[in-house]
């Protein structure tokens, strides 16, 4: 393992997510030098402009994000460590998948910057899960390319997949293992040694509040706990990029905030999170960049302030997805039959 460039010293008695993130990231940042805090603002603006230009140049399917001066990012989202080189954590070009003749995903382009918290929103059946499956190497695309930190996922899957932690939606887990066995299995599959697995399992289970359930079978877990242990297993090999499909579906608010807390620390330290959700409120609150996907196409993409343009995500989303028009057409619903 390469010596970590980031060398944060944490007080020993703080045993929680902070330790976890440190453990997870300690052997993770290989090349990138973190930018000092005072440089962040400039760098950020530059990169936003670049992104906007790139978007315009690429001619995304929907109308390009409105050209405007990028608004400063909310203070809540810290990007302490934006890598200088290779800004792109995930780059998707023309991704396409047909299911029985119909396009489930129709030429999707995505650009996720390293260190960002990227949300993919869309109605049911929009192709979010299909897209994320192809991004993580679980589903072979019919066309298009996926690059993870510059590595082509489908040309060089082994190298690219090392950098990704995955939480798929609606796929089974090896749930006849106990919680600790499950974490160990995930770590060993990724080729970690025993001591590392033991330490990270302990840190992760503490961070996610699973300490007292590790001896139980995963099949006996509640839906929220299952999600949490699956996310923990996705993080155990210290990936740079976490791809989470519906991580908060059927998860209680307390667990949600626990998971969000861990993820926030993960991005603060330079990790990248891509998640899909149909909870608008949550996505708006935690993500710093989003893509709206409808019918297998990206309707809008970019930093959240740009996409929202002063409205709430829900309003913007309904506008983009055309839900209002459908409601407007149903005048008969206002004329009651009796």
């Amino acid at each position: 393992m390469v010596e970590p460039v980031v060398d944060e010293t944490t007080p020993d008695d703080v045993i929680d997510a902070e330790l976890l993130v440190e453990a997870v990231l300690s052997d993770e940042i290989l090349i990138e030098e973190p930018v000092a805090d005072d440089d962040v603002e400039v760098d950020e603006v530059e990169s936003d402009e670049e992104l906007a230009e790139e978007l315009a140049a690429d001619e995304v399917d929907a109308e390009p994000a409105p050209e405007q001066e990028p608004t400063p990012r909310p203070a809540a989202v810290s990007l302490a460590a934006i890598p200088v080189s290779d800004d792109s954590a995930l780059s998707v070009r023309g991704l396409t998948k047909y299911f029985g003749g119909a396009a489930a995903v129709d030429g999707i382009d995505l650009e996720v910057r390293a260190g960002s918290f990227f949300g993919i929103v869309g109605p049911n059946g929009a192709g979010k899960t299909t897209t994320l499956s192809m991004v993580t190497g679980l589903l072979r695309p019919d066309d298009g390319a996926v690059r993870v930190f510059g590595v082509d996922l489908w040309q060089n899957p082994r190298l690219a997949k090392q950098k990704i932690g995955v939480l798929p939606d609606r796929l089974r887990l090896f749930d006849r293992l106990t919680g600790s066995e499950f974490l160990y299995h995930a770590g060993a599959l990724r080729g970690l040694d025993r001591a590392t697995i033991a330490q990270r399992s302990a840190d992760l289970s503490t961070a996610f509040g699973l300490d007292h359930s590790l001896h139980r079978l995963v099949s006996d877990y509640s839906a929220g706990m299952t999600k949490k242990i699956a996310i923990a297993a996705a993080m155990i090999h210290a990936p740079r990029l976490l791809v989470l499909d519906e991580p908060f579906e059927s998860v209680d608010p307390v667990s949600t905030s626990v998971v969000l807390d861990v993820l926030a620390r993960f991005t603060e330290a330079g990790g990248t999170v891509v998640l899909s959700s149909h909870s608008m409120e949550l996505t708006e609150r935690v993500c710093d960049a989003i893509a709206v996907v409808v019918d297998g196409q990206v309707l809008a993409e970019g930093p959240i302030a740009e996409v929202l343009d002063g409205r709430t995500l829900e309003e913007r989303f309904v506008e983009l997805a055309g839900g209002e028009a459908a409601v407007k057409g149903m005048e008969w619903l206002q004329n009651f039959s009796d």
Partner: protein, 522 residues
């Protein structure tokens, strides 16, 4: 301080009294048995004394190792008194005599009664004190080993298990060896006839070990063997043995009497469940996960519900059909091996259902995945062979059949695993879902694999074909063909295994996303 050894809790006292009564009874039995032995010929006395004696020497080592829970008195108790280790060690040995240890005396001197020959009796007199010392020191060292062992509970349970196993098996061997001169036990002799050679050779082997050496020494001097110099030479070895044990004992006491420096032990990393028994690697993880599923998932262990009925049913059918038993008995085990190797593994990927995504997401190498999945089946197969082959050979009644038979079985096991391994990656078909009953057939649209599966069974039989042919030649010609069948079987099986893992792995590497898509459809 030494007297504290007599203070026990009431329940312990009861147990102790029972143990003591058993020990006294056993000693009396040995003593009367030795007198009873004197009426028989030298050869039988040698057999009896060596096996019974070896068993007792072994018990002197194993029983203390297993029985001891905590030291009633450790030599360390004398640490503060500035006594020399030699004095403490001697005191402990002396004190061991004041108690059940004294029972070792009649046991050690019992062989003197048994030998019918004067020359043997002389050697037996000389051997007795050595036997006594050997027994005493073995017990003492066994206790210390037992105390040390209790610090590793997991290892201790294994040692306990195998200790009991060895002693019980040893007891059976003792009964079989004694049986020829006990009229009531003649049926035992008949039952053990196929293994006759083994039981005749066994006392000689035992006589070569430290456990049986001193018991066997007087036998060499008997008039029937007539090698007194060998007897005295053996006694010399016995003296060396006792000296080695003495040195070990005093070294141990000396070690305990030394002040210890506390060493900071490295924090033990805890590995959950069966994963602790496999290396921390992708293949190890797959193997441990797979084996865990064999224990926890009814779809896997369903095969164990079928296996026991195979021999019963087949033997019944054969006996009705008039096939002679010695031939019929050869059929069930290969069928069981084939069933075990093939039944679950050939569709293992489908059994995982969509959970296989974890392998795809981690880009687990196909060969690692395949090898890991083969481990549980290999394990069960070995257990089946270890139990089944001796039983079959016993049923057949001729030891010579073991070699070709093993060849065929190994070829079927390894070949079955290899073929099934490749098939589960290439031709998965819908399986019962996780959590469903094993026999519930899955609801699928589209065709179920049939031809491919039949082919896989055929291929497995093909792997065993060379061994089968060589066995057939052996059946007619005899001689070395049996060993050729064994070699060919192992070679063909190993080759098929390697090819299956390699080929299945390559297919898995290439088709991993498609496999996942398949499991999602079904």
């Amino acid at each position: 301080m030494l007297a504290n050894g007599f203070r026990r809790k009431p329940t312990q006292v009861v147990g102790l009294v029972v143990a003591l009564l058993l020990a006294v009874g056993g000693t009396l039995l040995v003593w009367t048995g030795s007198i009873w032995l004197a009426q028989f010929d030298d050869l039988f006395v040698i057999r009896a004394v060596v096996t019974v004696g070896s068993w007792m020497s072994l018990a002197a080592l194993l029983l203390p190792v297993m029985a001891i829970r905590r030291p009633t008195l450790s030599p360390r108790a004398f640490l503060g008194y500035d006594l020399s280790p030699l004095a403490v060690g001697l005191t402990f040995l002396m004190f061991a005599l004041v108690g059940p240890g004294i029972l070792l005396l009649p046991i050690a001197f019992a062989p003197v009664n048994a030998w019918p020959d004067d020359a043997s009796v002389q050697v037996a007199w000389a051997a007795a004190p050595l036997l006594f010392l050997q027994g005493l020191l073995t017990v003492k060292l066994g206790r210390q080993a037992g105390i040390a062992l209790r610090r590793r509970p997991r290892l201790a349970t294994w040692v306990d298990f195998f200790g009991v196993l060895v002693l019980v098996l040893g007891g059976v061997v003792v009964v079989v060896e004694l049986a020829p001169r006990i009229p009531a036990l003649l049926w035992v002799v008949r039952a053990a006839r196929p293994l006759n050679e083994f039981f005749i050779a066994l006392p000689q082997w035992l006589a070569a070990t430290p456990f049986g050496m001193l018991w066997a020494a007087p036998g060499h001097a008997s008039s029937m063997i007539g090698q007194p110099q060998l007897a005295w030479q053996t006694l010399g070895y016995g003296v060396v043995l006792v000296l080695v044990l003495l040195v070990a004992w005093f070294a141990l006491v000396g070690l305990e009497l030394r002040p210890t420096r506390r060493l900071a032990a490295p924090r033990r990393t805890r590995v959950p469940g069966l994963f602790a028994h496999f290396p921390a690697s992708p293949a190890g993880a797959v193997a441990a996960r797979s084996l865990t599923y064999w224990f926890r998932d009814p779809r896997y262990f369903a095969v164990f519900a079928v296996l026991p009925f195979v021999p019963v049913l087949m033997l019944l059918v054969f006996s009705v059909g008039g096939v002679p038993f010695p031939i019929a008995v050869l059929v069930p085990l290969p069928v069981m091996v084939l069933l075990l190797a093939w039944s679950t593994l050939h569709n293992d990927v489908a059994y995982d259902s969509t959970a296989i995504w974890q392998h795809v997401a981690a880009s687990t190498r196909g060969s690692h995945d395949r090898r890991g999945r083969a481990v549980p089946v290999l394990l069960w197969g070995l257990v089946l062979l270890v139990i089944g082959i001796p039983l079959t050979v016993w049923g057949h009644g001729d030891l010579a059949v073991a070699a070709p038979f093993t060849g065929v079985c190994v070829a079927l096991l390894l070949g079955g695993i290899g073929v099934a391994n490749a098939y589960s990656a290439r031709f998965p078909y819908a399986a019962p879902r996780p959590g469903d009953a094993a026999w519930q057939s899955p609801q699928v649209a589209g065709s179920q694999g049939g031809v491919a599966q039949a082919m896989s069974v055929l291929l497995t039989v093909l792997v065993a074909l060379p061994a089968l042919l060589a066995s057939a030649v052996w059946w007619v010609e005899g001689g070395w063909w049996g060993w050729i069948a064994l070699g060919v079987g192992i070679a063909a099986g190993g080759l098929a295994f390697a090819a299956g893992v390699r080929g299945g792995g390559a297919v898995f590497d290439r088709r991993a996303p498609e496999l996942l898509a398949f499991t999602q459809r079904n």
